[in-house]
């Protein structure tokens, strides 16, 4: 029984009760990227830069235009409020897919600033995070060629739909925040640099207690990505006296276990690599494939060993050894954490790399 009266009554009641949430898409300004810097002459507060896309009605030039508003304030939300006053439209953070922290900002603890990002409902937890060098604003201001949407190039770098490179470290906001909060694993950020009007993302920094602790160079970044994400779209370069070849990796598996012995605890790191030889400067011999494997293993073992020891030296832990320790041991969390902090500096790494070269490519 649904007579008209009821329906009309219902609809009228709906219209009476409704309060507005209605705001058309063209009355919103979409923030695509946020940049956070340390103000140059002030002790406290942040420089917040928002990159706002300006859609255009012509589909051909759509979204090439953008404006950047910067404000200085003690908190992010204050700065955002100031920027809101400057922009005619409602600021919409729903499409904010990139968060850039200025390099200088990372010299201090950034845990407090993360609060704003996690608390707001409209900020995607799958936004990419990165650190901008020299400043976040410089990254925002860069307009590389062939960019159809503001900041689209960055999205392509980090999103898995575009380039896939072992030098680009992708990190999402939720993942960054989780590593920041959890004891036993340290967060990392890719470093975005500008070079010749283009982006260069090849290095990364690892944070400790919300502060920048260590910056990895290009090759270390690659090794880290291979280990951490089992990233297999990677090439390994082997360069020795009379031999030079590139191994294109098909699949990688990297596993580790923490072994506690009586005297020195160690981590056993097993890496399995399968691949084919992609490029060589010399004639290669198919029968010597085992030899080549050995070379790869040697090179890669040292790379890994050096990287892990570098982490240990600076007592950072982006691989999450501490978390693994917590996951495999009994006791209260506090006690485990204290124990781990005493174990980690003395830990030994035993890296074992096994390589399986399937062929030398389609030629010898």
């Amino acid at each position: 029984m649904f007579p008209y009266i009821k329906i009309i009554f219902f609809l009228v009641l709906c219209s009476l009760l409704v309060s507005c949430g209605f705001k058309d898409i063209d009355k919103r300004s979409f923030v695509v990227t946020i940049g956070i810097d340390k103000p140059e002459n002030k002790e406290e507060g942040y420089d917040i830069s928002l990159k706002i896309a300006l859609p255009s009605s012509d589909p051909k030039t759509q979204g090439e235009e953008f404006i950047i508003h910067t404000e200085t304030a003690r908190t992010v939300s204050e700065a955002v409020r100031l920027i809101k006053a400057k922009s005619g439209n409602e600021l919409d953070f729903g499409h904010m897919k990139m968060i850039v922290f200025g390099e200088k900002l990372l010299q201090e603890d950034i845990t407090q600033i993360m609060d704003w990002f996690t608390r707001r409902r409209d900020i995607q937890k799958i936004a990419f995070v990165g650190s901008g060098k020299p400043t976040a604003k410089a990254i925002l201001e860069l307009k590389p060629k062939g960019e159809r949407l503001p900041s689209n190039k960055l999205f392509l770098f980090f999103g898995e739909t575009g380039t896939e490179s072992p030098y680009v470290t992708t990190n999402y906001l939720f993942h960054f925040y989780r590593n920041l909060m959890d004891r036993g694993i340290d967060p990392y950020l890719p470093i975005i640099e500008t070079k010749n009007e283009e982006f260069e993302i090849t290095t990364m920094s690892v944070l400790k207690n919300g502060k920048n602790a260590i910056v990895l160079d290009k090759e270390e970044t690659k090794t880290f990505n291979v280990l951490n994400r089992e990233y297999d779209k990677v090439n390994l370069k082997i360069e020795q006296e009379n031999i030079y070849f590139m191994l294109s990796v098909d699949s990688i598996s990297a596993e580790y276990t923490i072994v506690e012995t009586k005297n020195i605890p160690y981590i056993e790191y097993d890496v399995n690599i399968k691949g084919i030889i992609e490029e060589s400067l010399q004639q290669l011999d198919n029968t010597k494939i085992d030899e080549y494997s050995k070379m790869v293993e040697d090179v890669f073992t040292t790379e890994i060993q050096n990287l892990l020891e570098k982490f240990q030296e600076k007592s950072v832990d982006p691989m999450g050894f501490g978390l693994r320790y917590r996951a495999t041991h009994n006791g209260t969390e506090e006690a485990k954490w204290k124990k781990w902090q005493s174990i980690y500096p003395a830990l030994q790494f035993r890296v074992k790399v096994q390589t399986d070269i399937k062929s030398t490519g389609i030629i010898e």
Partner: protein, 363 residues
């Protein structure tokens, strides 16, 4: 076994995400939650077995008819009244929580009164339908949303950013102090069988009693379900960080990205699906509650139309809207915990009652 019975059982397993179950479990994540879950599962399976089998012994009859036939009148009326209110509370919790979720995640500018009005109008209309019609609606909504929700669960499992180590930390605390709250929360996923109290009226054919095998299957599915709703949020947000989240599952859904999907952010698909699940869950609960309470209240007719159900359902709406103002999120959460514990008590009582009634019926 009737397929509609399965739907009723599955419904609560899906609805637990909205019913604050993950939040309760996560709060106790370092307090022997694993063992608590297993205790909860075992207890509710026992209740399940006894209650469902005794109901099946009276084909075509609802709990009100059975209770009225075998117990004294004063007991039957007061018992049924309290039980009916329990169903309404279950519906109310789901509604209040989901209203809060919609306001936080979908449209913060909408007034909470209006949202409550929208949800309540649809739930009340649904609860006033005939019993079998609610089942048809349940079937349609489940068939549409179940595959998608399962897809999201699976998608969330195969994400490289999911931290298995964080989840394993929980397992390390399996045998720490067990809390009754998490036992109650774990049992919530299974209580779908209580809907039989009314829906048994439709199952008129004599069915064979439930086999242990079926109970085991339900137990496995339910355990997997509870562990997913506890573990995946921890895997995404970290064992230390997860405690800050009000709605762990919705924050988790926001961390899942579909690179090649029509909609990139899984959160919205998840939210829209869960509007459907919470509405149908609230509908089914309040319908059951309504039918039970109706059986003890006198009928009241005006112009040949039964008015009593409408009065009861309006009362329910009023209470829900008032609760929105007097039970803010924090208090609602405390209240839900008490409700979960109460659920255990009711389950215990009902089990003994049913055993006693079946004995009497045999004589």
């Amino acid at each position: 076994m009737n397929r509609y019975f399965h739907y009723l059982v599955i419904l609560n397993m899906l609805a637990n995400v909205v019913a604050l179950v993950p939040k309760v479990l996560i709060e106790h994540r370092l307090n022997g939650v694993v063992v608590s879950i297993f205790i909860g599962v075992a207890l509710s399976l026992l209740f399940f077995y006894v209650f469902a089998n005794s109901m099946f012994k009276f084909p075509g009859k609802g709990e009100p008819e059975i209770i009225k036939a075998y117990t004294p009148k004063w007991f039957a009326s007061s018992y049924l009244f309290i039980i009916g209110i329990f169903y309404f509370i279950a519906a109310g919790i789901i509604l209040l929580t989901f209203i809060d979720i919609t306001l936080r995640f979908i449209n913060p500018d909408m007034s909470s009164l209006y949202t409550a009005f929208l949800f309540l109008s649809i739930v009340c209309a649904g609860a006033l339908m005939k019993t079998e019609k609610t089942l048809y609606a349940l079937e349609i909504i489940l068939v549409i949303s179940l595959p998608l929700i399962l897809g999201i669960f699976l998608k969330s499992l195969f994400n490289p950013y999911l931290s298995w180590d964080s989840m394993k930390v929980i397992v390390q605390h399996s045998f720490d102090s067990i809390s009754i709250e998490s036992v109650g929360a774990a049992s919530y996923s299974f209580v779908g069988f209580y809907y039989l109290a009314i829906y048994n009226r439709l199952f008129t054919e004599k069915v064979k009693p439930i086999k242990i095998r079926y109970i085991l299957l339900i137990g496995i599915v339910g355990t997997v379900n509870i562990f997913t709703s506890l573990m995946i949020p921890i895997g995404y947000n970290g064992v230390d960080g997860i405690g800050d989240f009000n709605y762990p599952w919705f924050s988790t859904a926001d961390a899942i990205r579909m690179e090649f999907g029509f909609i990139e952010r899984v959160l919205f698909i998840f939210l829209l699906l869960y509007i459907g699940i919470s509405i149908i869950s609230a509908t089914i609960s309040s319908h059951t509650g309504l039918e039970i309470i109706k059986s003890v209240l006198p009928s009241f007719k005006w112009k040949n139309r039964e008015l009593m159900p409408i009065i009861v359902i309006l009362l329910f709406s009023m209470v829900t809207i008032l609760a929105q103002y007097y039970l803010p999120q924090g208090k609602l959460y405390e209240f839900t915990k008490i409700f979960f514990i109460g659920l255990l008590g009711v389950g215990m009582f009902k089990t003994f009652l049913m055993i006693w009634i079946v004995r009497r019926a045999k004589k």
